[in-house]
């Protein structure tokens, strides 16, 4: 009882004392006033000031002035906040009866965590606000044919391969570009790929992607076994709506749909498409002869399940096939090149947040690709099989340091059989052949660790290292990488990156090697650039790069085995200038200068690489005439691609065929490549549903661009193989169902 009485007395005493203190220290209100300013002493309107732990405070007017009264005294903290500015805590001392004047400066909040800012050489799209390329832009780029890969070639540093969807980046080979889809490697997302004189098309649907990040160099350690560039794609976790959309065009028809359950935790998507070129060829009077006429089928979809508030389980599957026969000429055989391929890709991905700040992604993927081809006495049947398991984990260590790590194992198998000409210069049907039968497989273990550090509000860098072990060649490589960005003003940055990049040769290369002795091909990259970016409405980016290649797959001087004696370099500069005048105009100019040389054998001199395209310029513009009608135009010009000329021939009487006499490797060049494409889109209502009609005119000036040269039987006459992309018209309609 005594304790209880004492406690009541103590509490009474505290209460009385508190009341007395309150009376003695808060007698007369004190006025606190001043100005809040930002960069270059510019007044900040709407800044909020509050004495910590109270609601006493005020808000600034348009001149940055504030004033408020308080009865609090003593040492206090004044907290100042404003939209777009970092919060500031200012210690103040309030004396009774004495007004206080105080001026405060705030610093702009620096958001440096987006990939677009921290990674040199990258073009990013996605849900964040730093978007360079949107799905809508992909659809609207004239000549891109709504193809993600073709759209990317309108950005600097990348070239189309034979007007198709494969990309060659900064003087490198197309095989040096890796596509990643939700952690899985997507090795063959193309139809009509590798067929003679035919353009390939990609099978990736840009509308199904929540993020697109294309990096033409300097990418971080999480990406392995790739030399030049990475296209990192992320699909939507779960559909957000329900609906179906159909497309009917001159050469194709497609149906796609999305569905999500009422609870929003389970959903799926599907796409189905059929390509049929007959009406297209009829209207466009193509010079090419086809047998069979090109057809392609695609079918794919996703199933997603939200397992927790932040966790997803997602299954992705995609199947596509194509069939084509195109009349081709050669000195010893005139007939149809036939190609047939089937691809099947699956990926099961799990994404969970083990804690409120960390993220774990796991995936298992597989890919099967079969390709059959034939021309003259050459007939091949190739199977590529890939399977991959991958895990990535990331968490912030402190407020300014993020840590990421991950590991992967990839299995690949290459199986090939067929007949090939005994003499490379004789493809006649009755010419001698040899049978070929090969089967090889390998595994690759890879692991990486990297940190992303915000050293100050103006300096941000990523440092990482990865290691890969190749089971077939028993080689191990370690690749350190570093990139940094320095913010020098509100909208401008200096970016740099350097690192070692390794990529193991293909299994078909290992088949041609002695005792699987090929080393990983290596490129050491150096990148330095400047970017001015005003809210993606005005972008100027200038970047220079140097790639030092070594251990490239090389040919033997005298035998037919492959070695690792190739070396070379690629150097150049990219300029990108984009202007968006909302809501009417969107356009960009991209220019690349490239100097790419390689050595083909251990002793040969450095010669032009296959994609040593010195100058490459693209000008793209789209204009919204009204909210419903859009026009676009693309102008593209580039230095012709190198090729190896043939200067004459020697008659081989045993074969009754001529042996071509080659000039130095890649010492010739095709004529300058030029093309102008235009398009128009009209959005309207179709039986009360959303619909879009589109019209495209590709190569409107009908420029005679070349794929390659072929020759007559004795090589005395050079015959240009023209691109099939003469002036062509394409139209179609897409509508909601």
């Amino acid at each position: 009882m005594k304790i209880f009485t004492s406690l009541v007395l103590i509490l009474f005493a505290i209460g009385t004392s508190y009341a007395q203190t309150k009376d003695s220290t808060e007698i007369k209100p004190v006025k606190i006033s001043g100005f809040v300013k930002g960069e270059k002493s510019k007044p900040i309107e709407g800044a909020n000031l509050v004495i910590q732990g109270t609601i006493d405070g005020g808000t600034t007017d348009s001149t940055g002035y504030f004033e408020f009264e308080t009865e609090k005294t003593g040492k206090r903290n004044l907290i100042i906040t404003a939209i777009d500015f970092s919060e500031k805590k200012e210690p103040i001392e309030i004396s009774a009866g004495k007004d206080l004047k105080i001026n405060i400066s705030l610093m702009k909040t620096v958001y440096v965590t987006d990939e677009i800012i921290v990674t040199a050489s990258s073009f990013t799209s996605g849900e964040n606000s730093k978007v360079t390329l949107t799905p809508l832009e992909i659809m609207r780029i004239p000549g891109a044919d709504a193809d993600l890969y073709r759209a990317i070639t309108t950005f600097p540093g990348s070239n189309q391969v034979d007007e198709g969807s494969r990309i060659a980046v900064r003087g490198g080979e197309p095989s040096e570009v890796l596509t990643i889809l939700d952690q899985a490697s997507l090795y063959n997302p193309f139809i009509f790929d590798g067929d003679n004189n035919t353009s390939s098309y990609s099978t990736v649907n840009p509308w199904g992607l929540k993020g697109i990040n294309f990096s033409s160099g300097g990418f971080p350690a999480k990406f392995g076994n790739v030399l030049s560039a990475v296209l990192d794609l992320q699909t939507y976790d779960i559909p957000k709506t329900k609906g179906m959309f159909a497309i009917l065009g001159l050469a194709n028809a497609g149906l796609s749909g999305v569905w999500v359950n009422k609870a929003g935790d389970f959903g799926g998507t599907f796409t189905a498409g059929q390509t049929f070129l007959k009406p297209f060829l009829l209207i466009n009077h193509s010079d090419a002869e086809y047998s069979p006429e090109p057809t392609a089928t695609s079918l794919g979809g996703t199933l997603s399940y939200k397992i927790t508030k932040t966790g997803f389980l997602k299954f992705y599957a995609d199947y596509n096939s194509d069939n084509i026969g195109i009349k081709s000429l050669s000195p010893t055989y005139d007939g149809f090149f036939t190609g047939k391929s089937k691809n099947f890709f699956t990926n099961l991905a799990l994404s969970v947040a083990p804690t409120s700040v960390s993220l774990l992604n796991l995936s298992v993927s597989s890919s099967l690709n079969n390709r059959k081809f034939g021309f003259g006495n050459m007939n091949g049947n190739n199977d590529n099989t890939y399977a991959k398991v991958r895990g990535d984990f990331s968490l912030p260590l402190t407020g300014t340091i993020d840590f990421g790590t991950g590991a992967e194992y990839e299995y690949s198998r290459y199986k090939s059989d067929g007949t090939y000409p005994m003499y490379f210069y004789n493809l006649a049907l009755n010419a001698p052949v040899f049978s070929y039968n090969a089967d090889k497989n390998t595994g690759r273990f890879g692991a990486y660790a990297e940190t992303r550090i915000r050293a100050t509000d103006f300096l941000y860098f990523i440092a990482g290292v990865r290691g890969d072990y190749h089971t077939l060649s028993q080689n191990f490589n370690a690749d350190p990488r570093f990139s940094a960005v320095l913010k020098i003003s509100k909208h401008s940055f200096i970016k740099g990156a350097t690192g070692i990049y390794n990529q193991y040769p293909t299994l078909s290369d290992y088949i041609m090697s002695f005792n699987n002795s090929l080393k990983p091909q290596q490129a050491i990259q150096y990148i330095l650039g400047y970017e001015y970016n005003r809210d993606n409405d005005f972008i100027l980016r200038i970047e220079s790069y140097y790639k030092d290649y070594s251990n490239l797959v090389s040919q033997s001087e005298y035998g037919f085995l492959y070695g690792s004696d190739g070396k070379g370099f690629a150097r150049g500069a990219d300029v990108f200038f984009k202007v968006r005048l909302k809501p009417k105009f969107n356009g960009w100019i991209s220019y690349s200068y490239t100097d790419s040389k390689r050595r083909q054998t251990a002793t040969s001199p450095l010669q032009s690489a296959n994609y040593d395209i010195t100058h490459n310029l693209s000008v793209v513009g789209t204009y919204n005439l009204t909210d419903y009608i859009t026009f676009g135009m693309t102008y593209h010009v580039s230095t012709g691609k190198p090729y190896t000329p043939i200067s004459g021939s020697i008659f081989d009487s045993a074969q009754s065929a001529y042996i071509p006499m080659m000039e130095p490797f890649n010492s010739g060049r095709f004529p300058t490549y030029t093309r102008v494409d235009v398009n128009a889109q009209y959005i309207f209502s179709f039986f009360g549903k959303f619909a879009v009609a589109f019209l495209a005119l590709n190569n409107i000036l009908d420029n005679k661009n070349l794929y390659s040269y072929t020759y007559n039987a004795d090589y005395s006459e050079k015959i240009a193989v023209r691109s099939n992309n003469n002036r062509i018209i394409y139209f179609g309609i897409g509508f909601q169902l």
Partner: protein, 260 residues
């Protein structure tokens, strides 16, 4: 003895908690009143001041979802003052800030229907400054709409928002006056019986729904629509005599149409 001691400590804790709660409720009601007044006048400067009031309330109670809701709603209202002049950088600034605030509110309390209704409205603003993200805007709006519908399909502000959206969407894209009237009339009916759980919970929209109903009738202009428009203008002004929407905008539309 021990029980008495525990009781006393609990009592003191309860008293101090009630005291903070009272301060909080008072401050919220005061700020809410100031917000309404600033909104009626479409006074950007007054709205910015109110925003400061809500920010300061967070000093009393940390991480209260309803305060974040009001910060988002004030941001949305400030952005709305720039609509007529199409000042896109300001619309973007306050809309994006609104998203930050409403996302914080939803993170703390994911079950409050009005948060998603506000998110639907914030997404409409994005059409003004980032039309190129059409796909994303539609997906985000649909996601918010589905969430709001799931939580409280009888929320009158949800139907009001659907009605406003239909009013501004051309017929050919699934909008139009008739569709708007359907949603607005439902909203109007639901407001008649609606009672919010707390006095400081959002209760906006009663005057606004009458304003938009009047706008629909003025736009449709069928037989009897003139009278219906007048009826809703009067009803709206009866609910809120200071409504800027009704006094300045809708009344002007009505006069231009019928008083020539």
């Amino acid at each position: 003895m021990k029980q008495k001691l525990v009781f006393l400590v609990l009592l003191l804790f309860a008293v101090s908690t009630f005291s903070i709660a009272d301060d909080f409720s008072d401050a919220m009601l005061k700020a809410k009143k100031n917000l309404k007044s600033a909104m009626d006048k479409s006074d950007e400067k007054a709205l910015i001041k109110v925003r400061g009031e809500f920010e300061r309330i967070l000093q009393l109670k940390k991480d209260v979802w309803i305060v974040y809701y009001y910060l988002a709603y004030t941001d949305y209202s400030i952005a709305a003052t720039y609509m007529e002049g199409q000042v896109k950088d300001k619309i973007k600034k306050y809309t994006e800030s609104g998203f930050d605030m409403i996302n914080k509110s939803i993170e703390i309390n994911p079950d409050f229907c009005d948060s998603y209704v506000l998110k639907m409205n914030l997404n409409f603003n994005r059409w003004l400054y980032e039309q190129d993200k059409m796909n994303d805007i539609i997906a985000a709006s649909t996601e918010a709409e589905e969430a709001a519908k799931k939580l409280d399909a009888d929320n009158p502000r949800f139907h009001l928002t659907l009605g406003v959206s239909s009013y501004y969407t051309p017929d050919m894209f699934g909008g139009g006056v008739d569709k708007a009237l359907e949603s607005l009339n439902k909203s109007n009916d639901l407001f008649k019986t609606r009672k919010e759980k707390e006095e400081y919970y959002p209760d906006w929209g009663r005057d606004m729904v009458n304003g938009f109903l009047a706008m629909c009738y003025i736009k449709r202009d069928k037989d009897g629509d003139k009278e219906k428009a007048k009826e809703h203008i009067d009803k709206g002004l009866e609910i809120n005599p200071e409504s800027g929407l009704l006094k300045v905008y809708v009344q002007k539309l009505y006069d231009e149409k019928y008083k020539k």
